[in-house]
């Protein structure tokens, strides 16, 4: 194992793990998918990856979503667990609300949002990497953000109501 792989791992793995956790909502599945993405990258060869970070996100996301349909029970459990919100910590609560809202989006919208805002990919890159028509990336993103905003506001209101 060369230093290049260690460097790639150290650079990309933390970001990939968080992205997949945000998309899937399950730490174990995120870990499995992230590790699998690196194994596949290793098989493919570092010199054949044009943008390793984006490549890992695409493969990891695909891996994550491939098993997602079979895991609805777990999703329900995840939702039931909720997020711990220490009293008086609005910023943390806000983040938890945002993540909770993100999890209510469809898989595709959630992936596009993470790719755009967490990975900073352009519309064209998202379209090319995730095989989405270039014209629909913006619309998908706008639609997702609008729903996020509504869900986020609703979450904050609900949180305020139960205090």
């Amino acid at each position: 194992m060369t230093d290049a792989w260690r460097e790639l791992y150290d650079t990309e793995y933390p970001r990939l793990l968080r992205a997949l956790l945000a998309i899937g909502g399950d730490p174990d599945a995120a870990e499995d998918a992230a590790q699998e993405a690196f194994v596949r990258a290793h098989r493919t060869g570092l010199d054949r990856l044009e943008r390793p970070g984006a490549w890992l996100l695409v493969v990891g996301t695909r891996e994550l979503l491939r098993h997602r349909r079979r895991r609805r029970i777990e999703d329900q459990r995840w939702a039931q667990r909720g997020s711990p919100q220490p009293p008086g910590m609005d910023s943390i609560a806000d983040r938890a609300d945002l993540l909770a809202a993100l999890r209510q989006l469809p898989d595709r919208e959630r992936t596009v949002v993470v790719a755009r805002y967490y990975y900073g990919l352009t519309y064209d890159e998202i379209a090319r990497l995730f095989a989405i028509k270039s014209g629909t990336v913006g619309a998908t993103l706008h639609h997702a953000i609008e729903k996020l905003r509504q869900l986020h506001i609703a979450g904050r209101l609900a949180r305020g109501a139960i205090r």
Partner: protein, 489 residues
Amino acid sequence: MTDERDDEMLGRALSRAIETQDVSETAFERSRVAMPKPNVGLFIFQRVGGAAAVLVFGALLASWIMSRPALQPVAASETPAASAIAAGATATPVATTTPQPVAIDHDVIYVARIGLPPVSFRAPLASNFGREQRIAAHITALRALRPDSWPPDTRNFLWGNTFQGGVSVTISGELATVDLLLEDKPWSVGETGAATGILQQLVYTATEEPGIRAVLFTHDRGQQMRIGDVAITQPLTRENVFGYKPVDPRLIGEEFPLACTAAPCPTGATKLTASQSVDVVGRGVTRFTIQIDGALPPSFGISPLKADTPSTAWAGKYVLRIDVAGTEVKPGLELVERTPLRAIRSSVDGGRTTYELAMDDLRPWRVVTLSNPYRVVIDFGGYVTSVSDSIAVYAPVPGDPPMRQFAVRGLASVFEASVSWRLRDSTQRVVANGVTTASIGTSRQWGTFEFNVAVPSSAAPGDMWLEVYSASPKDGSDLGLVRVQLKVG
């Protein structure tokens, strides 16, 4: 324009939220890509036969429980120093105002120890699971126990291995049949001790379910399972896989005499004080001690019993019952939860005390009586290759750092208390030998022995084997031979 700026602000907030998620990162060294053979860790949720519900539910819940922070070792092997502290803390029941559990915790899975039987690791499930679901979930949980969660000195050979989920379980009486989804791929057993470890982890974890004493493992809808060179052709109990020579299964009790060995002999009411330790007197050795203050009772009795029935829910697979005349100072139930000793229950009736030790399996035990103060000591297990039916070497053990002088400690039950030893070098040439005397000879009780070994200066550093045995009074052959592999510096 305003909308776009709002979108970007929300996007940045979301990005921060994602970045600040609490995640458990796997270090590069433990990542799949850094392994010699990157294992394709597919998270498989395929259905197997008619047990689909059990399979999927078990896999899902196992994954869920492994993400919970409540996972904690309950029987981890520890360094002697650490375990000494733990033993001190648990030797005496501590008074508390919170309700105490009244039965042992079966929500555990098992991790492997090289050269020793596996030890339990807490993996709680939801309380409304059925028996099959519990077995399926616990087996599935094994594959998800990550290296950073392994207790010290243990390994989880199912991590990163072929099995990635998919369990079908059926139960008939005391037998569970467990079918694993392996997609016809072989187990990875390249690591030292992997095949034995996998087998032990699977059997111990499946039979943790109350009432299940044996388990038959198959794969991919009833095919015969093979783990390395081991073909699983029949149901296995814990005693089939723990590595020791099996104890007599007839479970016949014994009465042991007690005698005052030095005047003045103690008098007065007999008070008994029990304590226990795990991994303190020797690696893998569990010790139960009853200290006797006051007049010595003439004898005590020990009898092993099959447990694990609905009426013994507090207990493990077996109960070792000890009856002594005298009064235990703190009778009651103490949950120990350290493999193989799960709990100690003591009760006093008519001036006699009965101790019941809830045990995970029927591994070999040895009875010793010590004086000053008088104590009844029962030792269980030990390093598998260091224990025979008449010799048990507690120190040194394989894996000790290289040395040229060392003390040998252990127990023996041998003819005329004569314990022989020799040291062989890597060519099997004897470079040193000797004879020592145990505290007592052939008896139903064992005697203690201790002697020092100095490796001759002519012996080159490297692997050596310490052999401890007794010479047969008939023909001088080795009886009860144990071989301890050591490094000489």
